[in-house]
Amino acid sequence: MTTKRCVLVGGGVAAASAAAHLRKRGFDGDVVLVGEETAAPYERPPLSKEFLTGPPELVRPLTPDWYAANGVELRLGVRAVALDVAGRSVGLSTGERLGYDDLVLATGVRPRRLSGFDGEGVHYLRTAADAGRLRAELATARRIAILGAGFIGCEVAASATALGTQVTLFEPEPAPLARVLGAAIGAVLMDIHRERGVEIRPGEHVTALDRGRHGFVLTTSRGDRVEADLVVVGIGSVPNVELGQDAGLAVANGGLAVDEYGRTSAPHVYAAGDVAAQHHPRYGTRIRVEHHDTAVRQGANVAANLAGEVTPFEEAHWFWSDQYEHSLQSTGRMGAFDSVVLRGRLADRSFSAFSLVDGRIQGVISLNRPGDVLAARRMLFAPHEVTAEQLADESLPLKRLMPRTKTASRA
């Protein structure tokens, strides 16, 4: 009997989670993790938050000695450059060719770059190395300009402000994170940043970047000129599909198309994490999610399927964003933002906005009410029926609206 080899391409939490769960599920073949970064897998969310403001420590899903102890070979600082699905092998930047029985592509995303915005003092944030450079320069910067008020832009703005740096934040949309949160909650976030001294410029973008004697001069779409010591660009990301796409794998929603079991269009090739555009049985459609929690759960799910289970991925999506002392969380999918049911008040900065359709919660966005998100996450795919009045009534615990699964499971 020959030993099976599972190759994981990608050095993020999806690959780490897959490695951990392969072993947990009793997979006793070879596991090789190929990661382009030199650091063993770590969590990316802290890079725009605690890593910048506190000690620059990486939060790791698995301790560095776990890999050796569990027979998982780490090939770090190595890039997978070619995929041969017929010959079941991956070509590496070292010139080697690595054969596999099963392959997991967890290649993630890379920052979308803005043409002409690069070089020293211009930062994109994805990796620990990126965050290390930004952290070092933030220490002496007096003024920074951030292009894009998405998650990265908003969180770096909050972190830089905490460090005493003056921030100018440009966002072409009318409010930060407007596409994710809607205009009303985006406006709450905008007020929070402005109160902390961030100069937010909604509806405005930067058209040119010039290097002056002491830093940068940015020209804006309104013709203003703004000075900054350093520039952070956070305008979204590009999925790293090339390895799979060049090998003929089907692409959808910008990512590698996978079914509910994580399988790509090529036999024995799976995909998980930010790069995977997965068919979600609960929604009956393909969704690509760029959030930490989904990457971890998809990695675990793919591992379970590789280890012989047949389990569709049908978990609820969930994300958080910490800015200043505020905790923003969301789960499920929001519908139209103008018909949300509010629990709590926007003005109090403690609220949850529910998307409610035909008596069922579809999704929720919450500021400083993480318990609501936990409760809603449990309800999303469970049978339930609630009214807008019940959701809005803060005296009625959300738990009370939940189907009583615990009692049933004990019966």
Binding site: A20, W66, D293, W318, P370, G371, V373, L374, A375, K406
Partner: protein, 104 residues
């Protein structure tokens, strides 16, 4: 200094299936009542040290509200992820219903 049983709470204030964050001897402690058994843990998630008393306790598992890490309330061991564990403190309930914790 160990072996100091300090008063943390009265049992009749902590119903079955409930948890509470208290301070004992300068230490933030999470008390949990699991079907009548009381457990005491450091009130910090091993992930990023957020307080756990804002999380969700369904009577058996505790979910940290910040990043959804899940723990077995009775043993303190991680459920998801399973390679972690809550820091536990010795805990007892006196005959008069006083919950006492030894934070060391």
């Amino acid at each position: 200094m160990t072996g100091q049983w300090q008063e943390a709470m009265q049992l009749d204030e902590l119903w079955e299936g409930e948890m509470a964050g208290v301070e004992v001897g300068g230490e933030k402690v999470l008390l949990m009542n699991i079907d009548g058994d009381v457990r005491a843990y450091r009130n910090r998630c091993p992930h990023q040290a957020w307080a756990l008393d804002e999380g969700d306790f369904d009577g058996e598992t505790l979910t940290c509200s910040r990043h959804l890490w899940v723990f077995d309330a009775r043993s303190g061991s991680g459920v998801n992820p399973d390679n972690c564990r809550l820091t536990s403190f010795p805990c007892r309930v006196d005959e008069d219903g006083t919950i006492r914790v030894d934070v060391g």
